[in-house]
Each structure stands twice: as structure tokens, then as C-alpha cells.
Symmetry: C2
Subunit: 369 residues, 2 copies
């Protein structure tokens, strides 16, 4: 394998996928994995084989890509921009069971009017704000019902959806259980408001990797969404929902130089390979640009990628004097565990998928819009 390569430990990935599917099964909900993490046909196939009922996407290009590969049930979980409606229409007309989301009257109106004009009935979920994280309408307040009535009038009201993005900022089991319950309760409350007004609300969709792995009950919820769990990463490790030896994605790199006096190892995995994501910077343990492991995947305690330029990673042991030339001579291969699997993966056009029998396959990866 050339370096840098995005190395995917398929054994770990498979275990992560089964773990999340088991949770969804135990909680009595269907699982709709978010494919934005991996954007890879083989990974989706493993998720579907494990029991996933459909997929969540972050771009319409992902929807098109995976629909072409035979996945019919697709949720586009970003508020629908009016100018993208023709692209959504084309997918529906080809037979894709595409669901859209909205969190505004203007957005809902655009979908309903475009649908009426084109003779297409879109399925639309109303996005609920359960934690002040980003988008969505409050479960209480008049806006939710106004949007629901508008969508219902067009025959397009499919349900509600939320995402507890604030869960990424937590790191204790208690806090995670609490936000998982808040995510569930507020989304179910929104569904109840809609039903209380005499409108249907079939789908109640919640999820994020931290809340999905922390929820005690998903009563009232119909489906669970999560993405990064398939690979996990250092951010999720800091949140507390995975062990470090469960991380399936790493970057294979080569030592290309040293600064002996400073104890620096220079590698060919800079930010172009790792991404600029510094997600662990604000967490309880800052892993710099990544945790360095041996080529075989053993964590090298204390050795982090401390800084990164475009094609140079600089790794060092914090406060420890190590003869880096002796221990990691030029040409040494290492693996680096990333902060954020979604961001690191997207720097590559494919994965080097390492199978349990040691074989390495090239798994293509979608990029762009």
C-alpha cells in the first residue's frame, strides 16, 4: 500500500455495525444509518445485511449514488433548499423512496408548491430542535403546527425528526443518558402536538451516535439514525461511547524525516490526509491531529501528531526524551487514529479495506456534491 492510505479495519467495523444494530433491535426501533461518515458501498452493504432498513444521507449526490447501487429507502437529513427540488424530483421519479426534511414555513411551502406543480407527493419530516444545537423548530410553540398543517394540506406530512448534536459535547454516562432521553422526549412531544391537532405523525426519527448508544428507552420513537459508530474515532472515544481499540479507521503513513534535537518524527500524513479536524481540542483529552500506532495497530502511548502541514505530520512524545531516529527510522510505517472519522475519510477517494484474513481490498468512496 502507498502512503498515506485510509486504512479500514473491516473486523472492527463489522463489530461496530452489529453493536448498533443490536441496540436498535433491543430498543424496538428500526435503524437508518447515516452514510455521510463512510460514503462507501461495501460499508452500506454490511449495514443493510445487519438489518438496517434504509439510509440517511447528507447530500443528494449520496442519495443518487446509493440509489444507483440499489438502496431505495433514503432520508435526506438536511433542510431542503428550494433550488434542489428538481434533483429530489428526479430521484422520486426513478423510484427512490426519498424523504425530505424542513424546519420552516418557507421551506415547507416551497416543497408543497413544487410538488403540486409537478404532480409529485414528497414525504416530508419536520425537523425538531431538541437541544438548541443547530436547526429545527421547537416542539412547543405555534410554528410546528403551522408547518404540519401546510405539509398535511399537500399530503406530504410524514412525521418528525431530531438530532441531539449537543451530545458530542458530553462525556459522562449520566449526561449522555439524560440528553438521549431529552432527544426522545422532545421529539415524541412534537409528534404528540401534531397528533393532538388531529394530524397524522407516523415517523418519529431520532439519533446521534452518543445518544443511540446511551438511550435507556426509545418509547414513541420509530427509527434511530447514527453515522460515525460504523468507524468510531477519537472524539467518540472522549465522549465515552467506544474503546480506542474499536476505532476502525486509521491513516497509514510513512516516516519521512526527523528533527532529532526536538524529538520530532516527520510523516507523510499531514492535514491533507488527517483533515484539519481538531475535534478533541475542546474535550477532556486533546489528541492533536491523531494518536499514533504501530503499523500493526498497537497504540504507541504518548505519541501524538502534534502539528500538521499539508503533506507533513509532525509527531512527538509529550515530555519524554526518545531517540526517534533509532526507534522510528526513515521508512517506518505507522497508523494514525483520527479525531473525526467523517472528516478524515473524505480526504481520500477510497479506503484500503483490511479484511480479517489479511487481504486488503480497495473500497471506493464518494466525494463532493
Amino acid at each position: 500500500m502507498e502512503t498515506p492510505t485510509a486504512l479500514l479495519d473491516v473486523t472492527r467495523m463489522q463489530r461496530n455495525i452489529l453493536r448498533m444494530q443490536q441496540r436498535a433491535d433491543d430498543l424496538g426501533v428500526s435503524l437508518r444509518p447515516h452514510v455521510k461518515t463512510h460514503k462507501c458501498a461495501e460499508v452500506v452493504a454490511a449495514q443493510i445485511a445487519a438489518g438496517a432498513t434504509g439510509i440517511t444521507v447528507s447530500t443528494l449526490k449520496e442519495a443518487e449514488y446509493f440509489f444507483d447501487l440499489g438502496i431505495r429507502d433514503v432520508l435526506y437529513a438536511v433542510a431542503m433548499a428550494p433550488h434542489k427540488l428538481p434533483q429530489a424530483l428526479a430521484l422520486r421519479r426513478q423510484g427512490c423512496a426519498l424523504t425530505l426534511i424542513t424546519d420552516s414555513l418557507a421551506g415547507a411551502r416551497a416543497i408543497v408548491e413544487f410538488g403540486a406543480l409537478q404532480g409529485e407527493v414528497f414525504a416530508v419530516l419536520i425537523e425538531i430542535d431538541c437541544d438548541g444545537h443547530r436547526s429545527g423548530v421547537k416542539p412547543q410553540g405555534p410554528l410546528l403546527l403551522e408547518i404540519a398543517r401546510l405539509l398535511y394540506g399537500g399530503g406530504m406530512l410524514a412525521g418528525v425528526l431530531t438530532h441531539a448534536g449537543e451530545s458530542y459535547g458530553l462525556d459522562t454516562p449520566e449526561a449522555l443518558r439524560a440528553i438521549a432521553e431529552q432527544e426522545r422526549a422532545r421529539c415524541v412531544a412534537a409528534a404528540e402536538v401534531i397528533r393532538g391537532a388531529g394530524l397524522p405523525c407516523l415517523q418519529v426519527s431520532v439519533g446521534s451516535t452518543p445518544t443511540a448508544l446511551s438511550a435507556v428507552s426509545l418509547e414513541g420513537v420509530t427509527e434511530l439514525r447514527a453515522g460515525v459508530y460504523a468507524f468510531f474515532d477519537l472524539v467518540m472515544h472522549n465522549v465515552g461511547v467506544c474503546r480506542i481499540d474499536e476505532l476502525a479507521l486509521s491513516v497509514l503513513t510513512t516516516v519521512i524525516g526527523h528533527q532529532v534535537e526536538k524529538g520530532w518524527i516527520i510523516t507523510d500524513a499531514g492535514w491533507m490526509a488527517m483533515s484539519r479536524d481538531r475535534g478533541t481540542q475542546s474535550q477532556k483529552r486533546d489528541f492533536g491531529y491523531g494518536q499514533v500506532c504501530t503499523e500493526g495497530g498497537e497504540v504507541i502511548e504518548g505519541l501524538l501528531v502534534g502539528s500538521a502541514n499539508q503533506e507533513h505530520g509532525v509527531a512527538w512524545f509529550d515530555g519524554v526524551a526518545v531517540d526517534v531516529v533509532e526507534r522510528f527510522p526513515l521508512g517506518t510505517r505507522l497508523r494514525v487514529l483520527p479525531n473525526h472519522a467523517c472528516a478524515t475519510g473524505t480526504q481520500f477517494g477510497s479506503y484500503g479495506a483490511l479484511l480479517e484474513n489479511g487481504e486488503v481490498q480497495v473500497w471506493e468512496r464518494l466525494r463532493g456534491w
Copy 2:
């Protein structure tokens, strides 16, 4: 144009390219642009047309890509990893005048031995550490001459090279002039050490965008390298080497939602489009994930992308109450100026190149390794 799109203002780019070429001409050195910023055939063509004598690359894939497009004179400015030598050999055998760099005895030995075995004489520059930034050997001390003698023994000693990466952390004309002079002086000193030992040192290559635009004299230098100047970005604006209206790259985005009470505008340019680069965070002005402009490119004072998720950007005015729905209704198009043009560009497979006559062309962009 779909959104998000990497929009390239070709008029500004052309002006930036001419400005740097003029400086190289005035300073009496040749200009070898670093193409890692743009990785785009049309941009290289403009640089060559303006007078560039060759290119600098950050990966051998770039070398292959641009050699196939007719660029013969290529400097691979990352310390040569021994396992990549067969790839370099293949390029040389096809007629590419590829120059390599090294900063270690082990690296130099690997090149010389591989060359001897293959009957190929590589041209190699010794990388000099002029500011403690990353790689390179000190201009004083025995290592420089040991490497020089080893390379000379193989007939491969082509000269010295340095890059004042620490210049990115400065922001006054005085400090920039001082580091530019330090970059020049230390690289020239290294060349003198080599020549003093009776060895040749034909090439003396220095550069970074900040030092290239600040140097008063490049006496003793033969060529200048710089990359980001073709596009500039907010980091360079903070360094003080460009005006904000000289930034050629922006991301075209669409408003997809609002959080009215918070004054938030939600756009479809999240970190997947902007990159996770937060280069201005440690500078005198933090631009978040980018400076928001109108669709036409006018800066909207005070409106920054304050946070970003994968496909969501969140922009707000700092401390100012603005009716964001009224002013930026759903579907509004905006442009966002990025922190770091190299990092933002690489998120896209192509540029939307906006010509002076208003025409938009698709300019392909290389990615990966």
C-alpha cells in the same frame, strides 16, 4: 451553479499571479509556483504564461498529473521517502526533469543507492531549516556537509532549498521583512558552506507567500517558491500581505434555514465545503469558518460563519440584532471567503471559474495521492 461550489474569481487570480511574477522579476530570481494550493491545469497555465519557469508539487501524483499536461520542470518539495523512489524513477524515465529534496543522511543514501542500482542520476536539493518550523538541516553544523558529500558522490547534488513556514505566524511588515531576510541569509549561508568545501551548489531555492511578498533583497538566491498567493485567503489577509478584495477563492452557498431568535443563518456550506481549517483562530482577527459576502462578492461586515457541521454552516452577526429571515430569506445565495485556500479548495473536485465577462467555466482539480 449548484451549491456549494468553489468559486474562483479569475480576474483576481490573474492579478495575484502577475503581482508575484513581477516581484520575482524585480528581485532577479525565477519563480516556481507551488501548485498544491490549486492543483488545477488552467491556473498553472496562467502561472507559466506569466513567466514561471517550472512548478513545485507536494505529492508525486501532482508531478505525474502536471507532467502529463506538459510541465517538465517539477520540484517535489517534500522529503523523499525511500519507498516512493520507483515512482520518481518512472517520472524521470518519461522525461520529467524531477528534482527531489532530502534532509537526512539516510534519505540521501537511499536516493544515491537506488539511483546507482537503476542507473539514474536524480537531482537533489538539501532542505535547510531556516526558522525551526518543521524539516531541514541547520546551515551550520556537520550534517549539511555530510549529506552534500554523499549526494555529490552520486553526482546528484543540485543545491539547497528552504521554506520559512514560521512567517505565517507574523503580521507586521517589519517582522515579515526580518524573516524574509533570515530565510534568504540562512539558505545562502548553507550554499556557501557547501561551496566552501569545494562542492557545487547551483540552486538556492527559498520561499513562502509572506516572505516572497516581503523580501527586500534575494541576493544569492536563484529561485522563489510560493503557492497560496494565486488565490490568497483570510490567513494571508491577517498576515498582512493581501487586501480582502484580492481573495480569489470563495464558496458559493445557499441559505437553507434560520434560527430567528438567535439570529442564525443556516447555509449549505458546512465544513465539508469550507474544510475544518481554523487558521485565523490564532491570528489577530478570528474569521470563524469564513467571512460571508453577498452573491456578488461584497463583504457583509460582521457576518461570519461561526460554526460548521458537515453540510451545515451557521453564520451570525456578532452582537448585532438583525432580522435574518427578512434580510437573507430562504434560498438567498452568498459567498464565503475561506481561512485557507489550500484546505478549502481540496474539498472540491473542480472550481467554478468566473471569468471577467461573467462566463463560468468548470476547471477540474486534482485530489488524493
